[in-house]
């Protein structure tokens, strides 16, 4: 299955269709109480349907070895990935819960260390006008910038995940196709895994009382779709694919470039491969 090499259009259409359906539902709900009841009944049905369709029939997790790649030189910091992730995965719309985020590194002339910020920075929130909207404020327009770049971040789905090691119940686990998932019905919410992750990729889902993090959109990738963040990236800075497939975009990316991973010294063996990093990126 060369799902990552399929033309992106059909998958993108499905994604847009889902969003438009959501919008239609919202409109209907706003219309009338009766319609609201119908919509909720309908969403209940579709909810049941999604439970039935997951795990995806005929999906064999022994046949895949998923990996993620980031070309940081391409990222323009538009933050569509952050917004798509929040909506796709129902992540709290605030400045403290993210399954993926983007960091900005700016070197100003004459300064040794870069200025680093993300969309959570108070100045960026002020510029966007809301915690629910994600922007990078144009705060360096009057400075003499030597070098600047963006770095998308997400869970590294490590080969030796420290978060899985420390989970006292086994609620978080590594799937055979290389994804680190959390069983929200078994997690006790101790947050030991949040402490153990060196990348800050995990957070506490306060509404559910459990830990949460990026799943590489497991519900999508097992259906042949791309993760939402990869789907919406307008510059293909984010890539996703199967390492078992030599021709997948990720396999080619790793083969054609001298790739890096974040914090290799932790021994976690991350599976998000980067190019275009800088010594100050941690």
């Amino acid at each position: 299955m060369k799902r990552d090499d399929k033309p992106a259009v059909p998958a993108r259409r499905i994604f847009l269709r889902d969003i438009s359906r959501g919008a239609a539902c919202a409109g209907a709900a706003a219309g009338a109480a009766g319609l609201l009841a119908a919509a909720s009944a309908d969403s209940g049905k579709s909810g049941t349907g999604s439970v039935e369709s997951f795990p995806t029939p005929d999906y064999d997790w022994n046949k895949h070895r998923w990996a993620y790649a980031v070309d940081a030189t391409k990222c323009i910091g538009c933050l569509r990935c952050v917004e798509a992730c929040k909506r796709e995965n129902n992540v709290a719309l605030d400045a403290h819960h993210f399954r993926t985020w983007v960091e900005r590194y700016v070197y100003i002339d004459g300064e040794e260390k870069p200025h680093v910020d993300s969309m959570s920075d108070p100045l960026n929130i002020e510029a966007s006008g809301s915690e629910k909207l994600y922007r990078f404020a144009n705060r360096y327009k009057d400075a003499k910038v030597d070098k600047a770049f963006f770095v998308p971040k997400l869970c590294n789905h490590c080969t030796h995940p420290a978060c899985v090691q420390v989970c006292p119940t086994g609620a978080t686990y590594k799937t055979r196709d290389g994804v680190v998932l959390i069983d929200h019905k078994y997690c006790i919410g101790c947050q030991y895994c949040v402490q153990a992750c060196p990348y800050g990729a995990r957070f506490f889902n306060h509404a559910k009382g459990v830990t949460d993090k990026c799943t590489w959109c497991y519900h999508r990738i097992t259906k042949g779709l791309l993760p939402a963040c990869v789907e919406v990236c307008p510059v293909e800075a984010r890539m996703f694919g199967d390492l078992n497939d030599r021709d997948s975009v990720v396999s080619r990316f790793i083969r054609d470039n001298r790739v890096q991973v974040l914090k290799p010294e932790t021994g976690n063996a991350p599976n998000v491969y980067y190019i275009g990093l800088d010594k100050e990126v941690t």
Binding site: H96, V116, V164, C190, Q191, V194
Partner: protein, 400 residues
């Protein structure tokens, strides 16, 4: 969502998810309580195992204190969990690679051990109330006696063997339980502030001094309240224990900071900023200065000078109070401090505890004082004081 979480202010660059401190003040209370358990058990064992007679006045008291503290140890953890009703998942399906998976077993084992030990120690009193007492307490004690009313010399010798054996097992169990808490923090490679091989011994020694300090405080206060003479050899023995272990604790903590600074691994800049900024008052001035160096010098002075009587008691009492505060601060500086240093190595988060709520200061304070309330209730039923005869206890408890 706003009411559900409490975001912290930060400086520099921190990962967006780090703005909510995962482990709150409750997780400060948890190692503090386990440390007090280990420390008070150690004091009790100095008499029960090592036969040091000067500790006899507080031996039974500190054994009961250890139990009252131990039953409260899981409380801060349960209050902290997102799903406390699932807490037993860790015991039903322990994920054995986790440093925390065996907590349920270790804590249960130790609680049972303490219950057994206390049962044997207080069995004569329980039996006496069960047979001679009146009212509901008689029935409580009848159940607590487990139907074993034999107080013959043979039975007492048998009990004594059990007390000795359980105390011998209890020492490594208590030290292991608390050293393991140090391991929970020290084994995490994601935080430079925690990641240290010295963390378990630092936790252990601070546990011994905090438990000893609590026994000193309660012994002096209860003696004053009961209007009985404070036994000087006992105070002196406790002072020596506090003095000796305090030296070790202080040196080990110093070594830990020194090796972290000397290694100067990635992110050391922000650790130095932390040490020389937000940590100056809580760590250097209060924990190390006022809470460790001042008691150490005070104890050195009274011990070397050979002070006696009220001067000795007052000096030891004040030193113990300072040590008790310093160890609580040490837990805070380790648990909260570690989370205030961002994993980016480029920023600091500043934790502001909530006052109300499940993880607030009031909840944490209540858990912290609950063992003392339990102790008060327990000592209404049985007397932990060696000088009080069983008959006197019984007279005091039964209606006229």
């Amino acid at each position: 969502m706003d009411a559900l979480h409490h975001a912290s202010a930060f400086s520099g660059y921190v990962y967006p998810n780090e703005t909510i401190i995962p482990w709150s003040v409750l997780i400060v209370v948890y190692p503090y309580l386990t440390g007090l358990v280990a420390g008070s058990f150690t004091v009790s064992s100095l008499y029960h195992v090592f036969g040091m007679q000067q500790f006899k006045p507080v031996a039974r008291f500190s054994m009961l204190l250890a139990l009252c503290l131990m039953v409260c140890v899981p409380m801060p953890l349960l209050l902290h969990l997102g799903h406390p009703e699932r807490a037993f998942n860790a015991m039903i399906t322990p994920h054995l690679t986790s440093a925390f998976a065996i907590f349920g077993y270790a804590a249960s084992f130790y609680t049972i051990l303490l219950m057994l030990e206390n049962w044997f120690v207080y069995r004569p009193q329980i039996v006496q109330i069960a047979t001679e007492g009146k009212g509901p307490l008689k029935w409580v004690c009848r159940v607590a006696s487990l139907g074993s009313n034999d107080l013959s010399e043979y039975a007492m010798n048998y009990d004594h063997k059990w007390i000795y054996a359980l105390a011998v097992i209890g020492i490594p169990a208590a030290l292991g339980l608390h050293g393991y808490v140090g391991f929970v923090f020290g084994s995490l490679k994601s935080r430079e502030w925690w990641s240290s091989d010295l963390m378990p011994p630092v936790f252990l020694l601070s546990a011994v001094i905090s438990g000893t300090a609590l026994v000193i405080l309660l012994y002096v206060l209860t003696s004053l309240a009961r209007k009985v003479a404070i036994e000087e050899p006992c105070v002196k023995g406790l002072a020596y224990t506090l003095w000796g272990f305090l030296m070790f604790a202080l040196i080990l903590e110093g070594l830990e900071i020194a090796s972290m600074l000397y290694r100067s691994r990635e992110g050391i800049d922000v650790i130095v900023t932390f040490l020389t900024g937000p940590l100056v008052v809580p760590f250097f001035i209060l924990q190390i200065g006022l809470g460790s160096v001042v008691p150490l010098l005070t104890l050195t002075y009274v011990i070397v000078r050979g002070s006696k009587g009220r001067a000795l008691t007052a000096a030891v009492f004040v030193s113990a109070a300072l040590v008790l505060c310093a160890v609580l601060l040490m837990r805070w500086n380790v648990v909260i401090g570690g989370q205030e240093i961002a994993k980016t190595g480029k920023g600091l988060v500043s934790y502001e505890p909530e006052v109300f709520g499940r993880e607030g200061l009031i909840a944490a304070g209540s858990v912290l004082f609950l063992p003392l309330i339990l102790m008060f209730v327990a000592t209404r039923i049985v007397s932990p004081w060696a000088e009080e005869t069983r008959a006197a206890v019984l007279r005091g408890r039964t209606p006229a």
